[in-house]
């Protein structure tokens, strides 16, 4: 960029950022040029698999071999073929499970964080410490016990047993408090308590304070938690795989894994089309809400 300064006007009035010396190409390269080079290389590295998947999903061959020439053919055949599979059922299942888990996580986590942040009661300190300890044990480690629990629950209440989406949502919600309460607790503490006290003096009940004041003021963190929970649930594999047994109930992760693991070569077109479709909601959410997510990341959450 600085090379555009015409050399014929050396006497330009020195500005605050003006370079003291003349900009030679070598100087430019060591200052900025290498950054562009790195940037271009990084984009190629980060982007080529994505370009490939889009190209493969549009290839009319639908096989792994037939997808190697980028954009050799462009047709929607693979996307149309998705209609003949259970793909859209899986997509629906995944969205139902992920949205329900995201919403439930936000509601229950925010309520617990509100209680820990605003009330002083016996068991509060113990509760906070217990949450810290519990969140060290990732739920997925216990998938065997979860499987066995769902078998026994299913004997009593079938809808909470194996092969049920409701049961899967309940399992995911079990992890809600452990992971997110601390994130929210810290944020809730930054909302000045004087606001609730003023509302209380005006006659608001604790429920009114919670629903109409605290939740509004903490909306950014609620968005982050809901979103991260949605994304994590969307891609969760092991528990979904263990619990959901019939194809109608599978989530996207279980279904697409089935395609690739059984007949990678033949199903490649279907898989790539499915991958593009199922990556879109997450990608869109991610890019639109990038700012919020980055804030949440630095506060300590990891995406699955």
């Amino acid at each position: 960029m600085s090379t555009t300064i015409p050399p014929a006007r050396p006497a330009a009035p020195p500005r605050r950022t003006a370079l003291p010396r003349r900009v030679t190409p070598a100087r430019w390269f060591s200052d900025l040029g290498w950054r562009h080079l790195v940037g271009v290389l990084a984009i190629v590295y980060a982007g080529f698999p994505l370009v490939y998947v889009v190209s493969a999903s549009l290839a009319d061959a639908g096989t792994l071999t037939g997808s190697n020439e980028l954009f050799a053919s462009v047709s929607g055949a693979n996307y149309v073929a998705l209609g003949g599979t259970k793909f859209w059922t899986w997509m629906g299942n995944t969205l139902v499970v992920a949205v329900a888990t995201g919403a439930g996580t936000v509601l229950m986590g925010a309520a617990a964080a509100y209680a820990f942040s605003r009330f002083r009661f016996s068991g509060r300190r113990v509760g906070l410490t217990a949450l810290l300890v519990i969140q060290m044990f990732p739920q997925m480690l216990a998938f065997v016990a979860i499987f066995l629990l769902c078998i026994s629950l299913g004997n009593v209440v079938p809808v909470l047993g194996l092969d049920s989406k409701l049961s899967l949502i309940c399992v995911y919600l079990g992890g809600a408090l452990g992971v997110n309460t601390f994130l929210m607790y810290g944020f809730f503490n930054t909302v000045p308590r004087e606001i609730d006290e003023a509302a209380k003096i005006d006659g608001a009940s604790h429920a009114q304070i919670y629903w109409t004041i605290v939740l509004r003021l903490t909306a950014p963190i609620l968005a982050v938690v809901g979103l991260l929970s949605f994304i994590a649930t969307f891609g969760e594999f092991i528990i979904a795989r263990v619990l959901l047994q019939s194809e109608e109930n599978w989530t996207i992760a279980v279904g697409l894994y089935g395609w690739v693991s059984s007949l990678q070569e033949a199903n490649w077109g279907l898989f790539t089309a499915g991958a593009v479709v199922s990556a879109l909601p997450v990608l869109a959410l991610f890019l639109f809400l990038q700012k919020y997510i980055v804030g949440g990341l630095t506060a300590g959450s990891v995406k699955g």
Binding site: I134, T298, G300
Partner: protein, 522 residues
């Protein structure tokens, strides 16, 4: 809380909020009572107790004036207790049992299963005329005993005398409470009919009625008999007596055992198996090492690349900086499982893009050679993970205190010196907790391993389905047998889960303590 906290919590006025609360609790109570009754009829006493406790807690929390905080905590807490605390505790319990194939149930169920599995038709036993009947969808048999009494039963209900049956030519033609199946309907469900066994009585020693042709029933009794008083199983054909042993199986004097056992506490046996048994100890050692190597190298490589890019793009004069940033984080916005599956295709040996296009048709065994598969896993994880590190490093770099950097410049520190003595230490303090959670995440990165290589290539020597790129969590999955490739061993799988937990918890605890002391220095 300057005002008494009871205000509003125990409102008696019929405000809309109160009505909503009442409706919700009524719904919860209705579902809860249904579940309690279901648990009662399924004789599931543990669940019954848990449901009653949860139900009482819910009603107390929402109707007591003194339970204000619990109104907010309880919904999440209930899920947490059932699906996290309980399953963790249960994992701990199962780790000390031999729960798995061959030891699936309680002793009573094992005895019943043994008796049923060893049923044979009694030589010369009388046959009785039989009719296939149905109760809704459930099939059953109706037989006429030699004394002329009509008895009927299903798989779950032993034979019992039924009054008011009409019998023609020794055969039941109509039966109150049952529907007599037509010949065509029997043909349709032939397999079900020949598989059906109707117990003669509540005592499994008495045997059952079965049929081959849907017209004649024979009494089958077990070649094993169980004696409750001495707690022994006897094989009536060979005369061998089996007694229960400590492993939850019936064992004869010569050491042979009956195939169906029950689950018992086996103490530390599962841990001994993991560390000492020759079938598991070898693979377990390799997998443990590789898990550490994978997690550490993944964190280090993603961090270095992310940091490098963050530095490269951290110059306000750089044009197109936002475009670079947005495009570089794209891999992070793709769900992890999609990326792993996509790369498994890209790295396919014969047809994949990498071999065919980038290496000009070379057949490099990216996913099937032990060493290359490890490199491939690390490479793919680098692609997946560097944008996260890029994001957090960018954040940390932008929040570096400008005055410190300026002071260093005034003191005459060069680029490298500033970077080495100021930027890096401050950056590490800011990112250390995230590096630890990233380590813990990668330590359990099941999705990547399972989708990319499936743990393969297999170890040559192992009789268990484990391979060179398996990490501990994917080993747990294979050992548990839930994917159907190996015998189920919930006990060993749970024991390995406990090992993982101990490793991750110890490392996190130590590391967090270290970083706290780092912060104090800075």
């Amino acid at each position: 809380m300057s005002l008494p906290a009871t205000r509003g919590s125990g409102r008696t006025g019929w405000s809309p909020g109160f009505l909503v609360k009442l409706a919700l609790i009524a719904l919860v109570d209705a579902l809860g009572v249904y579940a309690v009754l279901a648990a009662w009829s399924a004789e599931s006493w543990g669940l019954l107790a848990a449901m009653v406790a949860l139900l009482l807690a819910a009603n107390w929390a929402y109707f007591s004036k003194r339970a204000l905080p619990w109104k907010y905590i309880l919904p999440g807490l209930a899920f947490l207790l059932v699906y996290q605390v309980y399953v963790v505790a249960y994992t701990g319990y199962v780790a000390f049992t031999n729960y798995g194939d061959g030891h699936n149930s309680t002793k009573e169920q094992a005895i019943e299963a043994l008796l049923v599995q060893n049923e044979r038709r009694v030589e010369g036993s009388p046959s009785s005329p039989l009719t296939v009947v149905a109760q809704g969808d459930t099939l059953g048999f109706a037989v006429v005993s030699p004394e002329g009494v009509v008895e009927a039963g299903t798989a779950d209900e032993p034979l019992a005398a039924v009054d008011g049956a009409s019998v023609e030519a020794d055969r039941v033609t109509a039966l109150p409470g049952y529907e007599v199946l037509e010949y065509a309907a029997v043909l349709e469900r032939q397999q079900e009919v020949t598989d059906l066994r109707v117990p003669v009585s509540e005592d499994p020693n008495d045997g059952s009625i079965r049929t081959q042709d849907a017209r004649t029933g024979y009494v089958f009794t077990s070649t094993l008999t169980y004696d409750a008083a001495s707690d022994t199983m006897t094989d009536t054909t060979t005369g061998v007596t089996y007694t229960p042993n400590d492993d939850g199986q019936f064992e004869a004097a010569d050491g042979s055992t009956l195939p169906v056992g029950w689950r018992v506490l086996v103490g530390l046996d599962n841990f001994v198996t993991a560390f000492g048994d020759e079938r598991y100890a070898g693979p377990f050692g390799k997998i443990l090492l590789w898990t550490f190597a994978f997690a550490v190298i993944s964190v280090a490589s993603t961090f270095l690349l992310g940091l490098f890019l963050a530095i490269a793009f951290n110059d306000a004069r750089l044009r197109g900086r936002r475009v670079y940033r947005t495009l570089v984080i794209l891999p992070y916005a793709i769900p992890g499982f999609l990326a792993a599956l996509l790369w498994s295709g890209l790295l396919n040996r014969s047809y994949g893009f990498v071999n065919q296009v980038l290496f000009g048709g070379a057949e490099i065994p990216w996913l099937t050679d032990p060493l290359l598969a490890k490199l491939a896993v690390l490479g793919v994880n680098l692609w997946l993970g560097f944008p996260y590190m890029f994001l957090i490093c960018t954040g940390a770099l932008q929040s570096l205190p400008g005055d410190v950097l300026e002071a260093a410049k005034i003191d005459g520190a060069g680029r490298w010196r500033t970077w080495r003595s100021i930027t890096l230490p401050l950056l590490l303090v800011a990112t250390a907790p995230l590096l630890i959670s990233s380590f813990a995440f990668n330590f359990n990165n099941f999705t990547l391993i399972y989708m990319l290589t499936g743990g393969g290539p297999r170890f040559d020597d192992a009789s268990v389905p484990l391979g060179h790129t398996d990490i501990l969590i994917s080993m747990v999955y294979s050992v548990s047998g839930l994917d159907g490739t190996a015998a189920k061993d919930y006990g060993l799988a749970s024991a390995l889960s406990i090992v993982i937990f101990l490793v991750v918890a110890t490392i996190s605890a130590v590391a967090f303590r270290r970083t706290r002391s780092l912060e104090e220095i800075a």
